[in-house]
């Protein structure tokens, strides 16, 4: 248990520094770290503090968010297919963000962008909960997810196509696939407060989710308020996914892959899976973001492409497994 924690922490720290040290500018290890901590007034500090640090921080924060949200939703819905990207929460958040940017609300006050994405994500989660319900089968959950994702994607594309800006339409792929290229500390500060709130809400779900594995009645008998639990889950998920999507677009499959891989290692306790998935998610997004920079440095390959390449086969595997269990 503690061994897993140590391994994951070492992995995340290692990847974080890897992310700080890898880039087209090819600065040496000692040079880049000293430029990060001591302001040399030149280009190196600019690169380290305004390009690489925000990128690494955002990968860490967004990865942790997606891993945590995935583990929490799967724990609550008791369904391994629940994941913010697949069931349309990320898509709805992207729609909220796009709406804020293209109506000009985002320019009116600083936090309008994450707030709007949060509102989008909230709508998405509520819709899913209403359509699939907490006792819904995998099939209803996935169907509801498809419907919400498709609607959100269509509305996002519509807004971007209606924009007077000729570049807007080409940004559809960013909102659908996600990227951390050219982010700045501004984006870190935009996302951080919402993510902190979301982490607190989702982190507090552990006991309730553990109790829920015994069934809703037993959980209630153990003094777990299910309404409060659901409210915390919905708000927490909307906070972390909304903030992450507002600054980096929708990155799929992280919340599916990570809890699935870590579940056997934590003895299938939802409470332990929460923090393990947060660390695992951070490691996965950091890895993906390093990979896009190493594989195709000048092309701005989208993060969602890599996560989907890993995630989609696993998704199929899960569906086949669920089908076998049903039979």
């Amino acid at each position: 248990m503690t061994r897993l924690a140590i391994i994951l922490c070492v992995l995340v720290v290692g990847l974080f520094f890897g992310s700080l040290l890898i880039g087209p500018a090819e600065i040496g290890i000692t040079d880049s770290l000293s430029a990060l901590f001591v302001d040399d007034g030149g280009a190196m500090t600019l690169v380290m503090r305004e390009i690489r640090l925000p990128r690494a921080l955002l990968a860490l924060m967004i990865g942790a968010s997606l891993g945590l949200a995935g583990a929490a939703m799967q724990g609550y819905l008791r369904n391994p297919l629940a994941e913010p990207g697949l069931i349309g929460v990320s898509g709805s958040a992207a729609f909220g963000a796009v709406l804020a940017i293209h109506t000009g609300v985002a320019a009116s006050f600083a936090l309008a962008l994450p707030f709007s994405a949060l509102a989008g994500a909230l709508c998405g989660v509520f819709l899913i909960m209403a359509l699939a319900g907490s006792r819904g089968t995998s099939l209803t959950l996935i169907l509801a997810g498809i419907a919400v994702s498709a609607l959100a994607a269509a509305l996002t594309s519509l807004v971007l196509n209606l924009s007077p800006n000729p570049f807007a339409a080409s940004e559809i792929v960013f909102w659908m696939m996600g990227s951390l290229a050219d982010r700045s500390m501004t984006h870190v500060w935009l996302a951080a407060p919402f993510m902190a709130v979301g982490f607190a809400l989702l982190g507090g779900l552990g006991r309730g989710l553990d109790a829920l594995t015994l069934g809703e009645d037993s959980a209630q008998a153990m003094g777990i308020g299910l309404t409060r639990l659901r409210l915390m889950l919905v708000l927490g998920t909307a906070c972390v996914v909304g903030a992450g999507t507002a600054v980096a677009g929708a990155i799929g499959f992280v919340g599916l892959v990570v809890p699935h891989l870590l579940r056997p290692l934590v003895g299938a306790h939802p409470s332990r899976l929460l923090w393990a998935s947060a660390l695992g998610g951070a490691a996965m997004v950091l890895t993906a973001d390093i990979a896009v920079r190493v594989v195709l440095p000048s092309r701005d390959l989208k993060l969602g492409v890599l996560t989907a390449l890993v995630g989609a086969p696993l998704f199929l595997h899960l569906i086949l497994k669920l089908r076998r269990e049903r039979i």
């Binding site: 280009a43 305004e50 940017i101 293209h102």
Partner: protein
């Protein structure tokens, strides 16, 4: 005898062919020309005789892209669709070589004569495009006059020597103009060195923010933002770009003068040369 008769017939035939050719040539001057590309619009408006040009494309009305919006109002506007252009019954259609491929193909299938123009990628190509447009519209003398004027103004601009600061052109989504583009030639003619070329980026169109920061050029020239926000253009407000542009934050590319290979690029060169004077005076 037979040989002689054959000779006469051959001569008459040749004469007839020549006469016919000459007759065709004078009748050949197009009288109802439709242009469906921003750049051919401008060359045609500059060179066409009275009443010769019937229609230009709608982009020519967009002040952001077009250097000749006022002139364009005098013509019928088309959207570059094959159907509407066919119904205008043009005897000649002018098109760019990489836009509206499907429309051009369809017009050709319908038997309309379409002449395609290469996008000019250098200052000499502007000259040859002007002369070619003169040929096609049978306005050779006007074209020659325009080229002579172009050459004279360009020569005057290029006499101006002095320091050659490094400049980087930086557009939405982190695109730049490498060697072999018209923008690169405009930059060089205005007395700058293209930092992208100097850094050996070859023909790479996209430059990463980190690379830009490390190159630290004397000036970063960005494109002007379009109405409505976009993530692609937000990169020009990135703290790194703002730090690099701190000295001359208003140096921008005016698309309308830069985008097409017409004599209007001289205006771009002139205003860029002014920017250079301000820059070299500012730096000790």
């Amino acid at each position: 005898m037979a040989a002689r008769r054959f000779h006469i017939v051959a001569t008459r035939l040749a004469l007839a062919v020549i006469l016919c050719w000459a007759g065709l040539a004078s009748a050949d001057a197009p009288r109802r020309v439709v242009s469906m590309n921003l750049c051919t619009d401008q060359l045609a408006m500059l060179l066409a005789g009275p009443g010769q040009l019937h229609s230009v494309s709608d982009i020519s009305l967009d002040p952001r892209m077009s250097a000749m919006t006022e002139e364009a109002r005098d013509y019928v506007i088309n959207q570059g669709l094959a159907e509407e252009i066919y119904l205008m019954k043009p005897d000649l259609v002018l098109a760019g070589n990489f836009t509206t491929r499907a429309s051009v193909a369809m017009l050709r299938r319908l038997g309309v004569e379409v002449v395609e123009f290469e996008q000019a990628r250098s200052l000499p190509e502007i000259r040859s495009n002007i002369l070619r447009m003169g040929e096609i519209l049978h306005r050779q003398s006007a074209a020659r006059e325009m080229v002579a004027h172009f050459d004279a103004r360009l020569a005057a601009l290029q006499q101006d020597s002095g320091d050659r600061p490094d400049a980087m052109l930086y557009y939405a989504s982190g695109y730049t103009s490498p060697a072999g583009t018209l923008s690169d030639q405009i930059l060089q003619a205005a007395g700058f060195d293209n930092a992208a070329v100097k850094a050996g980026l070859g023909t790479q169109m996209k430059i990463q923010l980190e690379t830009l920061a490390m190159l630290d050029p004397d000036i970063v020239i960005t494109s002007q933002p379009y109405p409505g926000a976009s993530r692609s253009e937000a990169i020009m407000q990135h703290p790194v770009v703002e730090a690099l542009r701190a000295e001359l934050p208003f140096a921008t590319v005016t698309d309308s003068d830069w985008v097409c290979g017409t004599p209007h690029v001289l205006r771009a060169i002139e205003s860029l040369a002014e920017t250079r004077h301000r820059l070299t005076k500012n730096t000790p």
